[in-house]
């Protein structure tokens, strides 16, 4: 709901103009960025876990390679056993833990050793309900969205508990999320307003118009409240519109602790989530 509120104010877009400008910015400190999620897929026996480590870079440096390849990464499970991740060849900064299934509700600790510092984050695996169904809806063009075929899902929110959702959509194994001021609205959701209900016709990505024949994988991901706050801020801060109703720019704090020197913080987040995945092939739009 906080979202719709946000949309309203896009009003300003209609009367303001934009122009790209040149600007000199300060250079950042050398900081570690962690993007990690421990996944527990529903009804899947085994899976690989990934951690992506990158460095912060100059804001306007569009082409620099930022992958961190000289870190050592492991996961500590509830019994204190360490499971090492290994760098994936050809994918800069991606580390893999093969064939590891976390436990529901289990608490896991991610350890990263880099640049003489020990970084750590811990998270408990958060449940998610399964996707009831995936289908397509033709949405007419409106002020905010292009018209066309959109992917919709139904899901049933569990009663009597707070749930937070995040959706990823993949086409040809590629994450199709693009920057958009509406992301904080669609791509993550809290059940504040729909606790315990079945949600029908939800667009986990309202921006993308699909073509018949495209095979889409929808991943529904459970988030903790802290992880939701983090993702929400990521989408808010990347979706600035230049209007007065933007939230003011701010640093986004994640859950990675630098145990060696807490002033030299790392960015990013380690989440642990149950996930549900469904495939859908976009059909010709016969109804029209």
């Amino acid at each position: 709901m906080k979202i719709s509120v946000y949309i309203i104010l896009l009003f300003f877009l209609f009367i303001s103009c934009e122009q790209e400008i040149d600007l000199a910015l300060n250079e950042p400190d050398n900081r570690l960025v962690v993007e990690a999620r421990l996944e527990l897929p529903i009804n899947v026996k085994t899976t690989d876990q990934f951690v992506k480590l990158t460095r912060i870079n100059n804001y306007f440096d569009n082409d620099a390679s930022t992958g961190v390849t000289d870190a050592s990464v492991n996961l500590t499970d509830e019994r204190g056993i360490e499971h090492p991740y290994f760098l994936v060849e050809g994918k800069e900064g991606v580390y893999k833990l093969s064939g590891f299934i976390p436990k529901r509700g289990g608490k896991y600790i991610l350890n990263i050793y880099w640049n003489d510092a020990h970084y750590q984050a811990s998270e408990t695996v958060v449940d998610v309900p399964s996707i009831d169904s995936v289908y397509q809806i033709f949405e007419a063009e409106n002020t905010f969205e292009d018209g066309g075929l959109k992917l919709a899902i139904d899901f049933t929110d569990p009663e009597g508990q707070s749930n937070f959702y995040f959706w990823e959509l993949y086409v040809n194994n590629e994450n199709i999320l693009r920057v958009d001021s509406g992301n904080s609205n669609n791509v993550v959701a809290s059940d504040d307003l729909f606790n315990g209900q079945t949600i029908r016709g939800y667009f986990p990505n309202e921006e993308r118009v699909f073509e018949p024949g495209e095979e889409v994988m929808v991943k529904q991901i459970g988030l903790s409240e802290a992880a939701f706050d983090f993702y929400f801020q990521i989408f808010e801060q990347t979706g600035q519109t230049g209007s007065f109703i933007d939230v003011p720019p701010s640093k986004i704090n994640g859950n990675i602790v630098n145990l060696t020197d807490n002033e030299n913080y790392a960015l990013g987040y380690f989440s642990a989530s149950q996930t549900d995945t469904k495939l859908y092939v976009i059909q010709d739009d016969v109804e029209r």
Partner: protein, 790 residues
Amino acid sequence: MNKKNLILLLLFYTQVAFSQQKVSVSGYIRDAETGEDLIGAAVYAEAIQNGTVTNIYGYFTFSVPVGVNVLRITYVGYEPFEIRGDFKKDQTINIDLKPSSEQLEEVTVTGKIENANISKNEMSTIQIEPKTIKSLPAVLGEPDVIKAIQLLPGITSAGDGASGFNVRGGNVDQNLILLDEGIIYNSAHLLGLYSVINPDAVKDIKLYKGGIPAKYGGRASSVMDVRQKEGNSKRLGGEAGVGLISARALLEGPIVKDKSSFLLAARRSYGDAFLQLVDNNNIAYFYDLNVKTNYKFSDKDRVFLSGYFGRDKFELGSIFSNSWGNATATLRWNHLFSEKLFANFSGIYSNYDYSLDNLTTGSEFNRKSNIITYNAKADFAYFSNDQNQVEFGVDAKRITFKPGKISPIEGSNVNVFNLDESYATELAGYISIDKKFGPVSITLGTRYSAFIRQGEQSINIYENNQPIVYNANLGRYENGTVIGTKTYKRGEQISFFQNIEPRLNITTILNSATSIKASYNRMAQYMQLISNTNSPTPLDIWTPSGPFIKPLLVDQVALGLFKNFKENTYEASVELYYKQMQNVIDYVDGADLLTNNFLETELLSGKGRSVGLELYVKKNTGKLTGWISYTLSRSEQQITGINSLDPGINNGEYYALNFDKMHDLSITSMYELSERVFLSANFVYATGMPTTYPEGRYEFANLVVPHYGQRNSNRLPDYHRFDISLTLEGKKKSLEDGGHNWVFGLYNIYNRKNANSIFFVESEDNPGQVSANKSYLFGITPSIIYNFKF
């Protein structure tokens, strides 16, 4: 209890100071053609070289020595008036002043003009006439009070199109905006492009930036007291205007001649004329309605009833619809207990509401919020003699805050969600004494204010009484641990605050053209607008002081030199002010404020300060009139952590407020080319506003995320623009013909793209590529307006 004794003592004191050899003269001063009371008209007695001005109801009282006296009555834009008489006992004189015709204005240039700016014991005030506002170049030609006052020293805003205004480093929510005493909670139409005050319907706008009189309270930085016209009590008439944005019309006239009159004014913008919306289902407009009527039972008793109703509506096809608006109603009774004791009793209702309908299929809901105020007050002015006057009064408010209720509409299954309502009672009493010691005038006042936050409400109890805690490991603020909840019954006291707010003004007249003034005021504010957008929006939530948010306290001292040149043709002033703010609040990074019942978990408090130098030169008469205003200032705040080890905001160091501008210059001029052709021009220059730039970027969730540095540590490019407008007055066909005119305007003539903000985004089409973009509102903008009177 002590306070009551104090008041009695002071009253007694002013009684015994009575002078035996003088008689009092009192009465109303009015416009001869419309019967409107004139506010601030000067009455001057030659014999004693002293005078007074009419109060906000047009009433004056004054004393002169027994015997022959000459009284001179002057008011800008009116023919001066003289009365010669033998004054033997107290008397009442009502005076009708004739508006000066254009020819006579030439004469007044050489004649003597009042020097009220020198002699009056008040400083840091701004008075702007609706006539001046209408002659200034404006965005799309729409005359606007709040845009006009920003051309004066000490007033800024957070950019073109930001709502509200900032006075001497105070936030937008620190301005008390009164429309016929009714509190206006949101002064913006179309999210800040225009303001809710219709310049046709008002006769007097006065803004206090400092030296705020004791009768005002409740906001920390300024008071904008707007008085609506009473309506012409002599004849039926009106005026209307048609512009690019809106049309306005006003009708006024007598109900019972010279006893009762009415005023009805309306404005409405044209739908979506200037929003180039593709879809015909989209709606965006505002309207407002001003009504007023009064009845004079006698010269001792008058009753006024006035109302304002304004609304903005914005609807986007089948996605959402929202509307917001202020409504106020004021019933006032002026009563003269004697010529010396003037009283006003008011009952005021004010309601600000905001409503949003989300029309997205499947999750239709309505969100509604209100803030409702019932206000009763009594104000007295006791005139003892021309050396001693006292004002006193009481004020009681009952305020209900309804921050939001969400309910399903159109059969959707959205859950009902309620943000807690809050209730409060605000009480105040004040006394203010004016004394003159030869050339020195002193006004010493004090206001006592109390704020009682009441149930019914449940308040969280936090571990160590800390609703927000710092997590040093993660470098962020987190919600405190709730260890319980206390439920307060309806009417039960949750928190109690009280403050003594001293006010002082001193004026020393050095000669008829020079004076030095000084002032001090303390202001307490018991509700704040919590916002985490760059400029306030209608959604922002007014939050009362309570267990976790303390009242905002501001102390301000100001010193000024006032000097007039060439027989008051030029008036000039230099003012220096310093302001300290306690208990200012700011949100922590990433705060979620909109649907949060526990705002205390997102806010930190600290202190603020503002220092400034304001220069002002105004030319009052002649073919060329206008002013130059320059402000050099710095406004900043410091938010330290809860414990000494927390970083607070920006490591606990002072940082610039959003609207801080070091240099702010306006040059405004109006030139009379001929009797019927007037040219106006504005030039504005200001230092760019504070903003926050990224220090770097990183990738997350398939997006490029900017990594921002310290809050407000960068600046937008400087702001400047030049505007002109041309007014062509039509020929009057007869004396009754009210006249008509055309106003042509060109805003931002050299088409400077002044940045409203600079924002950083990744390209939608080329993921991974980023750019810095500035957004700006108005390039060169032409306008045309047609006005006529009947």
